[in-house]
Amino acid sequence: MHKENRSMIIYDVAVIGAGVSGASTAYQLAHYNLSTVLLEKCVDVCFGVSKANSGIIHGGFHHPVNTLKAKLEIRGNLMFDKLQYELGFPFRRNGILVVAFSEEQMATVQRLYEQGVANGVRNLEMCGHARLMQLEPKLNKEAVGGFFAPGGGTIEPYRYVFSLVESAVRNGVNLNCDFEVVSGSFADGCWRLAAADGREVRARYVVNAAGLYADRISRICGGEEFRIHPRKGEEYLLDRSSDARPERVIFPVPTRHSKGVLVIPTAEGTTMIGPTADPTDDKEDTATSSDHMQRIVSLVSRMVDGVSPRDIITSFAGLRPVLDGEDFYIALSEKVPQFVQVAGIQSPGLTASPAIGEYVKDLLKTGGLQLIEKREYDYELPRRHEVRHESLETLDRLHEENPAWTHLVCRCEKISEAEIVEAVRKGHRTLDGIKFYTRAGMGRCQGGFCSARIMEIVSRETGLPLSELTKNGGVSRLTVGRLGDRPVLL
């Protein structure tokens, strides 16, 4: 750690953006004798692109091996088992099925299979109708054939990002939320990054992992000119009791721009259908539309039985940060020094992310950053208790330690007061942050029952009045004052 001008820290690396790429980079850097700061413009981590995606660990067959994204997807996929062992996020290798509903589509299936084999993916399997139905009895009987990628799976993206950041922070990385970088300049071997509110961070190296805004950050810092095109994807979530929940992730035969509308058995027991793929100009446009709901339901109904709009419990939209050419752009800047661009991280960015972090770390080394492994590194995150997964005997024991373990706050997802308090103490103070950390409010009543209870707990734990609590930071206040604050309107 370098010091200058009284106690102004100069970090070795500042990572801009605490989404999946930035978090994975910070996690990697935490293994070395470096000082690293992770800067996030939102009030919590994983509040941008990374929170709204399909949560799929892809199978390494969708993209040709000569692309950077395919290389990192294949490497990233293989890294998840070790990461899950250490960090404990929800992840299952339940396999991916690509299903054709006509003989014509089988040609594309064949090509994807061969691409996967050429990419070095192992255990891929071409399937006829009977094998498909054996692997996934929920499939529509019209399925002609397809192929199976057993190494694919599903993950809870926010839990994954939270655990990466938590591990990085345990190993010395500083996290600054609510830090929106508005200017960046390089002088005397050091970057100065300023936030909108006047705070400043100095670092020798900068990693631009700003998602949808990577183009703006690059411009602010004098780096390469490029443009991120948001491409919207809408997803619809079905109740746990939906008959449509398959065992595998079901893909249709893809088109040029999209992997298509999927049926996803999420890692936590719900079923998700989507996403769409539509370009938009607005990087904050995460509105959903009614046409898409109908289209998604009808598309997935052709693939699996039992899809009903009655089972929809919520919908959301995310934006993919797309670059011209569609590939990832991860490279040392050729225009400014000590600056790594991590841009265009759309699908399969989540799958590739462990490898992205590693790749960025290697680029920093190429750029002159000295990497010495820490002698002491804390690999494993402490295991979290989750009431929905514990035995009655464990719950009984937990109750003796702390009665809040057997006080259920979210009835749909069985989340206890102790889990909410843990989230708040870990720094998640917004309703959305607590939801992503604990699942409280993600179930069938969508927070109708638990939101007010969670607000009471956050208020008690933080000392903030209810009127200061937000859904996701900024002006997203949940309530506006106390009874009696406003004159009666008769």
């Binding site: 619809y236 979530l237 009791s241 995460t286 509105a287 959903t288 539309s289 009614s290 709901m293 709009p309 929809i312 419990i313 919908s315 959301f316 009431v387 009655l392 005997e393 719950l395 009984d396 109750h399 003796e400 009665p403 809040a404 057997t406 006080h407 259920l408 009835r411 069985k414 206890s416 007061e417 309703l431 069938r444 009543c445 969508q446 109708g448 029952f449 939101s451 007010a452 607000m455 009471e456 209810l466 009127s467 937000t470 859904k471 996701n472 900024g474 002006v475 997203s476 206040r477 949940l478 309530t479 506006v480 004052g481 106390r482 009874l483 604050d485 406003r486 009666v488 309107l489 008769l490």
Partner: protein, 420 residues
């Protein structure tokens, strides 16, 4: 140590239904535990601080908390044991035909209950914006009417400054008036159907008295606002779909959804109880017994009622049947009851020969007059002319057992072609 307790009857839910049922079974000398996740008994009544409750059941007009307190006292005096702050997480039938329940509470940790009969009284939950998949953004300021009611009436917090209410269910109407009294502007109530889904008295007292506009046959087509609600777009329906050319925008920072209630039957599913898709509740016989012997259901868990009084009455009937079951009475017959023209559903779904039976119906039409007809095995056995038919109001009729004198399907229909 995991604690274990044994009762004759376990009632799940201590709202208007569960308390009435527990009072009945405990009053008859059967050991009864009533389990509820809330710290106080009374269920949703606790947040319904308006009046209009109890006129049938207590022959007196009460507020929600008054009704709750009164019916709680009756259950207590009858000797029911209360397990409050306790969430039932598991319920199953045991090999000896008794039932095993698990409840979690901060006070006692894990408790296993064993009971010879179970009365389901979990009530219902609100449908949400997510269930409707209303298009637009997902900002703060979107509440179900009931959760806003809890925020206001239990926590004393104001949900916003200007509101639009989506759907004209009773809770939404009550909340329109409540918001006004708290100084929150109510810009409009938007209802997709051609008639309100709430009771006429609530339209008069909660909207008309305050000049709050009700837009029938209109839909919210878009929700706007990045962090907090800023506006909604509303369009009239033409041939059942929103006419985009006539869309208008209403500025507001709060949206309340009052778009229907769904019986809460997740625990019933665990028990393997047969559900009726038309009600979302169990299909019961004339004694409110479900398809699982020893499991009874009454109140909003069975079908959504308009009046709390009927909830309590129905649950008390279910409890009486549970008492007969405990006494070893033979199970009621299961002759099928169905609906045809203009009726959404009927409860109970089965009848027993020669038993006087109260049937509840939800009509699908609005009509000044119509004839409710019962056919047994194809032959008309009963008919009655009814006035002021509307979907917002449940129809309840009692058929004498003497008419139900043979087995076969009992089919009800609501006929609008009236005889002169």
């Amino acid at each position: 140590m995991i604690q274990e307790e044994t009762y004759d009857v376990a009632v799940i839910g201590a709202g208007a239904a569960g308390l009435a049922a527990a009072a009945e079974t405990a009053g008859a000398g059967r050991s009864t535990v009533v389990i509820d996740r809330e710290e106080l008994p009374g269920g949703i009544l606790r947040q319904c601080i308006h009046n209009g409750f109890g006129i049938n059941y207590f022959k007196e007009e009460l507020t929600g908390p008054e009704y709750a307190t009164r019916i709680t006292r009756i259950a207590e005096e009858a000797g029911a044991v209360f397990a409050l702050g306790s969430a039932v997480t598991d319920v199953k039938r045991l090999p000896d035909n008794r039932f095993g329940l698990v409840a979690l509470s901060a006070e006692r940790g894990v408790v296993r209950y064993t009971a010879r009969a179970v009365i389901l009284a979990m009530g219902c939950r609100e449908r949400t914006r997510g269930n409707l998949a209303v298009p637009g953004t997902r900002p703060a300021g979107i509440y179900t009417a009931g959760s806003a009611q809890k925020l206001l009436n239990r926590d004393g917090a104001l949900p916003g400054t200007s509101a639009v209410i989506v759907g004209s269910g009773d809770i939404g109407l009550i909340m329109a008036r409540r918001l006004r009294w708290c100084g929150i502007e109510v810009k409009a109530v938007i209802e997709i159907m051609p008639q309100p889904s709430g009771l006429p008295r609530n339209i008069a007292q909660c909207l008309d008295d305050f000049g709050i506009p009700l837009y029938l046959e209109h839909a919210v087509t878009n929700i706007g606002g990045a962090k907090r609600v800023e506006y909604v777009d509303v369009a009239p329906l033409a041939d059942g779909i929103p006419d985009a050319s006539k869309t208008f925008r209403i500025q507001c920072d709060t949206l309340l959804f009052s778009v229907g209630l769904v019986p809460e039957n997740e625990l019933s599913r665990q028990l393997g109880v047969e559900l009726n898709p038309a009600t979302g509740g169990a299909r019961v016989d004339s004694g409110f017994q479900t398809s699982v012997p020893g499991v009874f259901a009454g109140g909003n868990v069975l079908h959504v009622h308009d009046l709390v009084d009927f909830v309590s009455e129905e649950a008390a009937l279910a409890a009486k049947a549970a008492l007969r079951y405990l006494d070893g009475a033979p199970p009621p017959e299961r002759n099928r009851v169905r609906v045809e023209a203009n009726l959404k559903y009927v409860v109970p779904g089965y009848f027993s020969r020669n038993l006087n039976t109260v049937f509840s119906f939800r009509p699908l039409i609005t009509a000044d007059a119509a004839q409710l007809t019962a056919r047994l095995d194809g032959e008309i056995v009963w008919k009655r002319r009814l006035r002021g038919i509307r979907p917002a109001e449940m129809i309840k009729v009692e058929l004498p057992g003497t008419l139900l004198n043979r087995s076969g399907d009992l089919v009800f229909s609501l006929e609008t072609e009236l005889e002169a």
